[in-house]
Amino acid sequence: MATTKRILKEVERLNKDPVPGILAQPIEGNIRYFDVLMDGPSQSPYAGGRFKLELFLPEEYPMAPPKVRFLTKMYHPNIDKLGRICLDILKDKWSPALQIRTVLLSIQALLSAPNPDDPLANDVAEQWKTNEKLAIQTATQWTQMYAKPSQ
């Protein structure tokens, strides 16, 4: 099956040429289901944290986007309390030419550049707009509390 070939190839490339700061491993028993660890980008309130995500490739993949969410508690205007992520390429801007790798890089980039004008978590976005300094402080605290690599 073409899709399986694509998935296997992607996994192979992820292993051979891993993305710095991102670790994506298939979960045993389901080649479409991945455990992801992502380092918070430096120069961001998430720096120093290691975040857990899960990623699933639906039946229509790659014609439909992967489904991804954070498992680690996040304070971010585009991530809700279930870890769901508001990112255009995971929705209508998805292109079948994108890959797991590009998706994860885009998510990492979203951590560096929150977009409170297109919020998923309204209360966080509000805070981000009215008092960015405090918002960043809270995000840093949450990173310390929930995303320490030792945990």
């Binding site: 070939k5 014609m63 292109s95």
Partner: protein, 543 residues
């Protein structure tokens, strides 16, 4: 778009749903509704609506579609006999729609001095708004093409193979034997993946907006590309073409599809969004469906769209009725008849079955014995408050019910009028036989039923207008018109329903014809008055 599952989509059939990103709500630049009749040039195709009554049954199907004069000569002209409530419109079948697109493209091709494919895509990308397109294109052709996702050097999409370095970034197949496809941007994917990608979009309803699958690449695959990819897939090619026609209508504010089930016609009408507060653009499709161009629900003259929408929502919610029913009535737990409590104590006796019970807990009264004031949920203070709020609700509700009853009555009568048509036809046959009248001589009955039917519809909506109208002298004048039309309509209804009880046939015929003419004139009076009244802000409304 991805949120529609295959199943849902299949259920929708061709009636796909546009996603927000596909639809942009921009006013049609051309042929704006503000244009005065004088500014309009030669009428090309005019659908006269003088004789509104004959439309429908004996629709006068002139060759109104004549020669396609092109988009930029207004296709619709005003005519002197136009009534204040009438709007100009034109009905298109799918072939006429295609012809119209072709005509616009043919006209624009020399203006833009570029290929037909580029002209077509540019027009689509500009939602057929010629003025901004010409302005942008003549100022900056390359920028305009690039912005619209069209190749600047007229590169054609192509399929090829034989490149050993080729790798499809979608399925990772590779090698020189793989056939690939590229839009003018040059991004290559294997033909199989490109086809799957395109078909997925086509089945979601997309057509010309389909771009190269590469992330952030805005290059349009184009009709030429789509035809190449779908050359062996007739089913999807047909769907692609029908999506194209669909988007021609959907992309433009001056066009709507007739909302009747399975109807293939589209209607062109030029009425500005802002005019919908004071104008009711009623149109009639060739399929016979009368509807409002502004909101696409059934004709709701003389109530404007916003009012009709609000009213229908109110009826749907039926919120006032149900909330009133909730506080004022209960069902007898024994025989299920509805009981309203007018006052008095909680010891209730059902009128129907004589069951005795407590209003508060609905339990049998016998069980209350001597302790009836201690019913666990009874509280004098709270029930008093409840009663006060009830009278307020009740007053509002009674007003609503007053208007709703009349609205509903005309709706029901209109349905009966349709049945009447069947009986009328029988009556006509009978008359023909008995009096050896010609077919044309008995048409008066049909005309009468048509008039009845349209008057019922108008009367129905006058009650909505009245419901939202503030009481003043102007309203009294409106109500007089309404009541004149209403009584005339009822008289005509009676004549048509029981023709034989009104004397000799020639007599009845005369009576019906006269009454029909009279009702029609009352109808026109009322519509003229409301159309002008709305434009003059003669009435105050509570919404």
């Amino acid at each position: 778009m991805y949120e529609y599952s295959e199943d849902e989509f299949m259920a929708e059939g061709d009636d796909f749903v546009y996603s927000a990103s596909d639809y942009s709500e921009i006013d049609d630049g051309e042929e704006s509704a503000e244009e005065t009749p004088n500014q309009r040039s030669q009428p090309v195709g005019t659908q006269t609506q003088n004789n509104t009554f004959s439309a429908g049954a004996g629709f006068d199907d002139d060759d109104y579609y004549g020669g396609e004069g092109g988009e930029f000569e207004p296709v619709i002209a005003s005519h002197s006999s136009k009534k204040p409530w009438e709007v100009d419109f034109k009905v298109f079948d799918p072939n006429e729609l295609r012809a119209k697109q072709e005509a616009i493209i043919g006209r624009m091709e020399p203006v833009l001095a570029t290929s037909k494919d580029a002209t077509t895509l540019l027009l689509r990308a500009y939602l057929w708004k010629d003025e901004p397109l010409v302005e942008d294109y003549l100022t900056d052709p390359e920028g305009t093409l690039t912005k619209s996702g069209i190749s600047i050097d007229q590169t054609s999409p192509c399929t090829m193979s034989g490149d050993p370095d080729f790798v499809c970034e979608i399925c990772f197949c590779d090698g020189e034997e793989e056939e690939y496809f590229a839009a003018p941007c040059g991004h290559r994917y294997c033909t199989a993946c490109y086809h799957t990608y395109l078909v997925g979009k086509v089945q979601e309803g997309a057509s010309w907006r389909i771009t190269c699958p590469t992330h952030k690449c805005k290059m349009l695959v184009g009709e030429e590309g789509a035809r190449l990819l779908l050359k062996d897939d007739e089913e999807n090619l047909l769907r692609y073409n029908s999506n194209l026609t669909r988007s021609f209508v959907n992309d433009r504010d001056s066009f709507v599809w007739c909302p009747a089930p399975n109807c293939v016609y589209a209607i062109e009408c030029h009425v500005a969004r802002s005019a919908l507060y004071t104008t009711v653009p009623s149109v009639e499709c060739k399929c016979g469906n009368r509807f409002c161009f502004g909101c696409q629900i059934a004709d709701h003259m003389p109530a404007p769209c916003y009012m009709a929408e609000k009213w229908l929502q109110k009826c749907r919610d039926d919120s006032e009725t149900s909330s009133w029913m909730k506080v004022n009535t209960k069902e007898c737990t024994k025989c299920r008849s509805i009981i309203e409590k007018n006052g008095g104590c909680n010891h209730m006796t059902c009128r129907e079955c004589r069951y005795e019970f407590c209003w508060v807990c609905m339990g049998s009264w016998a069980e209350h014995g001597q302790h009836y004031y201690n019913c666990n949920r009874f509280n004098e203070e709270s029930s008093k408050e409840a009663r006060d709020s009830i009278s307020e609700t009740r007053a509002q509700l009674e007003r609503y019910i007053h208007y709703f009853t009349r609205y509903n009555n005309h709706e029901q009568s209109a349905k009966l009028a349709r049945k009447l048509l069947a009986t009328t036809e029988k009556n006509m046959e009978q008359l023909q036989r008995e009096l050896t009248l010609s077919w044309i001589e008995v048409q008066f009955l049909n005309d009468a039923v048509d008039v009845l039917s349209i008057c019922r519809s108008t009367l129905k909506w006058t009650y909505v207008l009245a419901f939202y109208m503030k009481t003043d002298n102007q309203m009294i004048i409106f109500e007089n018109n309404q009541s004149d039309l209403e009584s005339a309509t009822e008289q005509l209804n009676d004549l048509v329903e029981n023709p034989t009880s009104h004397g000799a046939i020639e007599d009845i015929k005369r009576k019906i014809i006269d009454k029909t003419t009279y009702v029609k004139s009352r109808w026109e009076t009322l519509l003229t008055d409301t159309a002008l009244g709305l434009q003059e802000n003669r009435w105050q409304f509570t919404i």
